[in-house]
């Protein structure tokens, strides 16, 4: 027994040390930093100035930060609804016994294996470009000149152009998660309900959806994490200076911590840490709410 305990300690210690070094320490340091005025992420603790919750108060009073939060809320809520609906629809269709299932699944998933830089360039230069873009040509061909003249990346439109392009690439990822859940549901359930006269929509609402609660929770959590970390697409849609349609909390954090814009500004890593802590709490909040609202059943897939 004593030997076993020694072995447990020997095997667990490296893992625990790494866990503390890689996860616990950075989280604890970030939370601490958010309560101080800190110039740079690597500034020594002796250079920190305690300011309490001032960083959080400043964030709450900064209209640009509030705007960035509003942007990710819209991406999360509107984009999430569209992405989850389409992903579930495609997953159900793919598992309904259609031919060439693997081919269609690969096509829908394809955008996920293409670099975001290439995808964003495609959307900006080949779809939204005001003079030669696909949308301009398409609406001109239909004779809808007003729509053809729309500047899709102008202020106000750019947010939706960005959200649409991002969602386009995310459907396949969440479809795969839904699909893996649907595949686990025994076929007998569907056969039995068919014999009882249940239609396909009825099977979907009474069998598929209730048995996918766990998968829905997983998808919502994954979507929340990616929405909160929304950064690359934002940078690609406003390459040098960010704008109101593309600002997200992660971009705001990046600007504050690294001062990467054209103008060299004072850096404020403490404020950046406060943004990071706020976002972390947001993910936890959504996770808790999801667990409260979507109760687990005895049978789930």
């Amino acid at each position: 027994m004593k030997q076993n305990r020694t072995m447990v300690v020997i095997f667990l210690t490296p893992a625990l040390l790494l866990f503390f070094a890689i996860f616990v320490y950075p989280i604890a340091r970030t939370v601490m930093m958010s309560l101080f005025s800190v110039e740079n992420v690597t500034s020594s603790v002796s250079e920190w100035t305690f300011t309490g919750f001032k960083n959080y108060a400043d964030l709450a009073q900064t209209s640009l930060f509030r705007k960035s939060m509003w942007n990710i809320f819209r991406i999360w809520a509107v984009g999430g609804l569209v992405v989850m609906s389409l992903a579930l629809l495609f997953a159900v269709i793919l598992n309904s016994g259609i031919r060439f299932k693997k081919f269609f699944r690969a096509v829908i998933y394809l955008p996920n294996i293409i670099s975001a830089v290439a995808l964003a360039t495609m959307w900006l230069q080949y779809v939204y470009a005001p003079r030669w873009g696909f949308l301009t040509d398409f609406f001109s061909w239909l004779g809808l000149e007003d729509l053809a003249a729309t500047q899709w990346t102008a202020a106000g439109n750019k947010f939706w152009a960005l959200t649409f392009a991002y969602c386009f690439g995310m459907v396949g990822y969440h479809m795969l998660i839904f699909s893996s859940g649907i595949e686990k549901i025994p076929h007998e359930f569907y056969e039995a309900s068919s014999i009882d006269g249940a239609s396909k929509p009825r099977q979907f609402t009474n069998i598929t959806l209730p048995l996918l609660k766990g998968v829905v929770k997983t998808n919502i959590t994954m979507w929340t994490i990616t929405s909160v970390g929304f950064f690359v697409w934002s940078q690609l849609f406003s390459t040098v200076t960010t704008d109101l349609d593309t600002i997200t909390p992660m971009v705001y954090l990046y600007l504050q911590v690294f001062s990467t814009g054209n103008t060299v500004m004072e850096r404020e890593a403490g404020l950046g840490a406060a943004v990071g802590v706020t976002l972390g709490l947001l993910v936890v909040l959504v996770f808790v709410l999801t667990n409260l609202l979507i109760r687990e059943d005895e049978i789930e897939y």
Partner: protein, 411 residues
């Protein structure tokens, strides 16, 4: 057989150790903001190789890119990573990283460096470092209106505009000739506003407005807004100026010869040379003077990248020698030619043909603006200014609405 292999390996190991022990050269670690595929990166590599051949020292040249430098340099320095030389924008090195860099006044004096240096840039480097030399400028730039001289000629514009009235006249002729007079992209459009306001009230005035939110209180804001609303109303601005995501209009209508004028840095010819081809007829003029303003063509944003030595470096004299190698004579000229850039060695008097017209602009400068004359000085306001100015130039809002929007956003 095994014994022979073991002995050979041992001999090889000993030889390596012995040769290492007798090696005289020192290693200089150089982190650069350029990528290895960029013209600047290629020339730096050649310069480092030439330096190695001459001195026996080794140069560990690491290409970090802009993002790599801005995100990674300071944490690496704080962690004690050996980095002897690094380069970046003059303001970033001398402001953000000032605590890490060595005062090189003595090294520069011993090498008589300033005898053939660009006096204006050395002065700017000293000024931004608080009065002492802590970095060596290279790859200078000037920010001005670049234009397609063939379009100017075809439209009958005989001389580059020096005043706002002359600019309006030139735009009218260009428009009548069937071209878009002025274009821009979202990355640079705010520089137009910054320059116009700085012409009226100087950079200090611009910073005061941006930092203190004096958008409604300062009449120059409305005046600048009216000037650009006027350009938009007269059809002098690109119809897509309010929506173009960089580099759409730069690489599109400007490089393709459909629009004539673009306010940008002297790196522009290099960026679009693959699209314009070698026959593009480049012109350059300083932002025009405006009526009742405080500055004219003598003021602009100019500066450079700079090379600095880590104050903890153990090989500072050798590092300075490498900097001299890069910024003087053969390799300064090569950097200028390959990157279509401005030389810093005053004995390299030939500028690339594409930048010949920028030389006149550079020579007349006596007042230095920082980036965009300070209009991007408030990180919490920049996106609001950008959007409002794009809408103004796109004809979506009036000058009064522009002022009101920014006044509201700043409160």
């Amino acid at each position: 057989m095994k014994k022979i292999i073991a002995m050979l390996l041992l001999a090889a190991l000993l030889l390596t150790g012995v040769s290492g022990a007798f090696a005289e050269g020192k290693t200089i670690v150089y982190w650069t903001m350029w990528e290895s595929t960029e013209p600047q990166g290629k020339v730096l590599k050649e310069a480092a190789q030439a330096y190695e051949a001459e001195t026996g020292n080794k140069v560990d040249l690491q290409f970090k890119g802009r993002t790599g430098m801005r995100e990674g340099l300071q944490p690496a320095l704080d962690a004690g990573t050996i980095i002897d030389i690094f380069d970046e924008d003059m303001d970033r090195v001398n402001v953000s990283w000032i605590d890490y860099i060595l005062d090189i006044e003595d090294l520069a004096k011993a090498a008589n460096y300033e005898e053939t240096a660009n006096a204006g840039l050395i002065g700017a480097a000293r000024q931004v470092a608080g009065g002492t030399l802590k970095s060596i400028p290279y790859q200078p730039f000037v920010f001005a209106f670049f234009y397609n001289a063939d379009i100017f000629e075809e439209a009958g514009v005989e001389a580059p505009p020096a005043t706002w009235a002359e600019l309006l006249d030139a735009c009218e002729k260009i428009k009548n000739a069937g071209y878009v007079p002025i274009t821009s992209d979202d990355a640079y459009i705010m520089t137009n506003l910054g320059y116009h306001m700085a012409r009226l009230i100087g950079e200090e005035g611009v910073r005061r407005v941006v930092d203190n939110g004096e958008w409604a209180e300062e009449p120059a804001v409305l005046e600048a807004a009216k000037a650009y609303a006027d350009l938009a109303a007269k059809g002098y601005l690109s119809p897509t100026i309010g929506s173009s995501v960089w580099p759409t209009n730069q690489n599109g209508e400007f490089a393709m010869g459909e629009s004539a004028i673009y306010l940008n840095g002297s790196w522009l010819p290099n960026e679009v040379k693959e699209m314009t081809g070698p026959d593009y007829n480049w012109g350059c003029f300083s932002y025009p003077a405006v009526e009742g303003g405080v500055h004219g063509p003598e003021a602009a944003n100019f500066g450079s990248q700079v090379l600095a030595i880590n104050k903890s470096s153990q090989v500072a004299p050798e590092a300075f020698d490498l900097i001299v190698k890069i910024t003087k004579g053969e390799f300064d000229a090569k950097l200028s030619i390959e990157s279509v850039g401005i030389p810093v060695d005053s004995t390299n008097i030939e500028w690339p043909a594409m930048l010949a017209s920028a030389k006149d602009v550079m020579n007349q400068l006596s007042v230095r603006y920082s980036w965009a004359a300070g209009i991007e000085n408030n990180v919490n306001m920049t996106p609001y200014i950008k959007q409002a100015f794009q809408q103004l130039c796109g004809g979506q809002i009036t000058p009064e609405q522009f002022v009101d929007t920014l006044e509201t956003a700043s409160n």
